[in-house]
Each structure stands twice: as structure tokens, then as C-alpha cells.
């Protein structure tokens, strides 16, 4: 009895693990991949799933959902990521990455693709 009370107390003390930062959306990710190829993100970034180009001017985008800050500046949320890929200088003044020719919807799709990339 005492044991089970203690166990319950322990369990109650544990927080739920944080929920996933994104909801997988394969259709959006597929559209995002097409947009990535259309605007040529690979010219500066190595992106898993994009065979060529794998540019080195910017950082690799491997495992984006596990990154702490976007470009070392913004909390890593899908909304921030979408805003960043669409118009980086607006959300991070001084960013080397320029505004890209993406619609708002496309930028959300690109974020969906990048979040789908797992480190493992």
C-alpha cells in the first residue's frame, strides 16, 4: 500500500514529455520539397533528400526539428521557420540569407519538409 502510494506520487511528479513541435504532414512536406527544388535552396545548403546541389555557403539543414535556435536567433517553431525561409532579413536583421521567392503557403510547406528531417 505504502509502496503504491509512493509510486503514484513519483509518477505524478513526472511531467508529460513535451509534445512534438510539429505535426507531420506528408502532403505539405512533398510540396515543400518541390518548392525547395524550384527555388534552389540547395545552392547554399546541404539538405537531406536533395541529392544535388549541396552548397556549402550556408549550413546543412540536417535534422532541423532538433535544432535549438533557427539561424542562432529565433525559437525553433514551424511558424518562425516558415517566416525565416520566406524573408530571413525581416525576422533576423543582418541575415546573409536573402528573401526567397516563396509564397506564404510554400514557405509553410518548406518548413514542413525541413521538420520532417530526423537526425537519426
Amino acid at each position: 500500500m505504502a509502496l503504491s502510494v509512493m509510486l503514484c506520487a513519483c509518477l505524478a511528479g513526472c511531467k508529460q514529455p513535451p509534445g512534438p513541435r510539429y505535426v507531420p504532414d506528408e502532403a505539405a512536406a512533398a510540396r515543400g520539397r518541390a518548392a525547395i527544388e524550384r527555388v534552389g535552396c540547395g545552392a547554399c545548403h546541404a539538405i537531406p533528400g536533395i541529392g544535388w546541389p549541396r552548397g556549402r555557403t550556408g549550413p546543412s539543414l540536417d535534422g532541423f526539428r532538433d535544432i535549438g535556435l533557427i539561424a542562432g536567433a529565433l525559437p525553433n517553431t514551424p511558424a518562425n521557420l516558415a517566416a525565416f525561409v520566406r524573408n530571413a532579413p525581416r525576422v533576423k536583421p543582418g541575415s546573409t540569407m536573402p528573401a526567397m521567392p516563396l509564397s506564404e503557403e510554400e514557405s509553410r510547406d518548406v518548413a514542413a519538409y525541413l521538420y520532417g528531417l530526423d537526425d537519426e
Binding site: A43, T57, P98, M100
Partner: protein, 355 residues
């Protein structure tokens, strides 16, 4: 039927980007967009059909020879069948195909049409120099990796090479033809519908040969005239357009953030001249007069960068200048990794304005 399905699907997907020029269904090589490519595709289908028929006959004969009744086997091994099926049939069929094929493709080797628009395309490792020629054969405009033509009009392409053998191939518009150092080959292309048609170098030319691309753009006659007029052949006087250190004239496409960009572009221009870019690249109307690399006079309005391989936007321009070697390994432009991010951006913004 298939083409219809394809057209509907491409109309729904809102992408009208340049890479449609290479991809999609049917593949460009089976999707002729002009009379010269038409003949090549008809011939290809005829040869494919003959191949299927002959393969079918061989497979049936093989089956009969192994499993067939003895009487059929005897016939198959008889002298008569060898004479008919082994000599007469291929002799007649191949002769007919040869005569028909030569007749069909004779238009590809006919004398060049008089008074046709002429363009000189010169192969370099690993890009294409494009010169539009006037009636007297003088160069009226230079560009690179991109050719704009009017629909419904044959265009003579003079093919040359500055280094090794390349081959010019825009599958939608014609067959391929070699570009050979020291001689000029001529090829006629014609588009019967407007569109963007991808091209490639079709002869292995070393290193990044597979990344040596090209785009042909066919315009309706009226659009073609407008396009030509938009590209003034006479370079603006230096005093008018670009004096080092002053703000260059802005063109309409650079609308957003224009005020910022103008100041940055002036800096980009100075950097372009002082970082070595001008030694290899020409920009008409400026002191940049290098000829080792592609002419950048109109680079801001081009569809692609890096010789038909990257879409053209500020991001890809920065990436190309900053580290083109990671994108097209072995290409003759060094990675400008000694430039800061601000400097790369400034050069990209100035180049964007060269339309």
C-alpha cells in the same frame, strides 16, 4: 491522350519554372516542339516499332524451336526459311527503312534558309556563349546559356567550340550537333509553340560536363519583338548608367526594398570591379570586359545560373558566387569564400539589376 493528361496536370500545379524545361512527361526527347524535332521523333518511334516487331518474331521462333511440334521445327530449320527470313526479309526491310529515314531527315541537312535569324553558340568548358548576329554577321547582342527565339521561324545556329568537343542539343527543337574546335557547324532549329526548352551538352567534355545546361525560350512573334526591344544592344554610356561609387540606375524589377538595394548595389558594383570578377566577366556599359567567363550584361533577367543548372534568384546568386565549387565541382570560377556575407549580397544585388 497522354499529352492531354499531362497538360492538365501541369496546368494545375502552379509551377511554371524553368525546370519544367527538362522534366515532366512526355520527356523532351519524345515531345517535339518544331518541325526539325518532329522528324527525329517520328524516326525514333518507327525504329522502336521495328525493334519490337523483330524481337517478337525472334521470341516466337525461339519458342517454336524449343517447344513447337516437330513439323514446325523442321520448317524453321529449313533452307527456305533461312533465305526468306534471314536474307530477304532483313534486306528489304532495312533498305526501306534506310531510304525512308534519309528522306525523312533530309530537312536536317538541307542548305540553310536564306535571310534566317542567325545565332552563334560557342561551347566552353562548361557553359555556352551566345551571340545574336545581325544581317551582316556582326554581333548585335551577347548572352550566355540562354537563347530566345521567335516561334514559327527557322533559326540557324552556328556552332563552335573554344576548347574541346561539345555537342549542342535542345531535344524539343532538333537533333544534336557537335561543336568542334576550329570549325563551324550549322544547325537549324525551329519552335512551333512558345515555351521553355531545356538543352544540354551531349558530348562528354570533362569534369562537370553533366552540369553544362542551356535553355531555349520560344516567344510569340509580338512578345519576341518586345523582348528584343527590352534588351538594348547599345550599351548605355558609362556616365549615364554606372559611375563607380554612384548609385546605378534602377530597373523596374528590383522594386521591393529598392531604396536600400540601390545603395548596396553601388557598393556591389565597386566590389565586382575590385574583387576580380571583371577580369573574366563582361558587363556592357561598364569597365568589366573579361571574356573568359559568361557575359553578365543581362544576367539579372536570365532564367538560370551556373549554365542552366540553378534557378536565378538572389539566394542562388549568393550561393553561386560564394561557393560555386560545391555546386559545380571543377568549374573554372573559384569559390569567393574570401568575401563577407555583406559583400556577397552586395554583388548579387548589383548583378540582379543587370537586365
Amino acid at each position: 491522350m497522354w499529352r492531354h493528361i499531362f497538360m492538365v496536370s501541369t496546368m494545375n500545379s502552379s509551377t511554371t519554372d524553368v525546370f519544367d524545361a527538362w522534366w515532366g512527361w512526355p520527356p523532351p526527347v519524345l515531345d517535339p516542339a518544331g518541325p526539325y524535332a518532329d522528324n527525329v521523333v517520328v524516326l525514333a518511334w518507327a525504329l522502336f516499332a521495328m525493334g519490337v516487331i523483330v524481337t517478337g518474331i525472334v521470341v516466337v521462333a525461339l519458342y517454336v524451336a524449343i517447344r513447337g511440334p516437330a513439323r514446325w521445327k523442321a520448317k524453321l530449320g529449313g533452307e527456305r526459311l533461312v533465305w526468306i527470313g534471314g536474307v530477304a526479309f532483313p534486306g528489304v526491310v532495312l533498305t526501306c527503312l534506310l531510304v525512308w529515314g534519309l528522306w525523312l531527315t533530309s530537312s536536317l541537312t538541307q542548305p540553310m534558309p536564306d535571310g534566317a535569324m542567325r545565332v552563334r553558340v560557342t561551347g566552353y568548358m562548361w557553359w555556352f556563349d551566345v551571340e545574336y548576329l545581325g544581317p551582316d554577321g556582326d554581333v548585335i547582342m551577347r548572352d550566355a546559356n540562354e537563347l530566345h527565339i521567335p516561334v514559327g521561324q527557322p533559326v540557324v545556329v552556328e556552332l563552335q567550340s573554344e576548347d574541346v568537343i561539345h555537342s549542342f542539343w535542345v531535344p524539343n527543337l532538333s537533333g544534336k550537333e557537335d561543336m568542334i574546335p576550329g570549325r563551324t557547324n550549322e544547325l537549324v532549329i525551329e519552335a512551333d509553340r512558345p515555351g521553355r526548352f531545356g538543352g544540354v551538352c551531349a558530348e562528354y567534355c570533362g569534369g562537370p560536363h553533366a552540369l553544362m545546361g542551356f535553355v531555349a525560350v520560344a516567344h510569340e512573334q509580338a512578345d519576341w519583338a518586345a523582348w528584343l526591344a527590352g534588351r538594348s544592344m547599345t550599351p548605355p554610356a558609362i556616365a549615364e548608367q554606372d559611375v563607380p561609387g554612384t548609385v546605378p540606375a534602377l530597373r523596374p524589377a528590383a522594386a521591393a526594398d529598392a531604396a536600400d538595394d540601390a545603395a548596396i548595389a553601388a557598393n556591389g558594383r565597386t566590389l565586382f570591379m575590385e574583387s576580380g570578377c571583371a577580369a573574366c566577366h563582361r558587363v556592357a556599359g561598364t569597365e568589366a570586359n573579361g571574356i573568359a567567363g559568361p557575359d553578365l550584361t543581362h544576367v539579372g533577367s536570365r532564367l538560370t545560373l551556373g549554365a542552366g543548372i540553378l534557378p536565378n534568384n538572389r539566394g542562388t546568386m549568393i550561393g553561386w558566387i560564394g561557393d560555386s565549387q560545391s555546386i559545380k565541382p571543377g568549374n573554372r570560377m573559384p569559390s569567393y569564400d574570401m568575401l563577407s556575407a555583406d559583400e556577397l549580397t552586395a554583388i548579387a544585388i548589383w548583378l540582379e539589376q543587370q537586365r
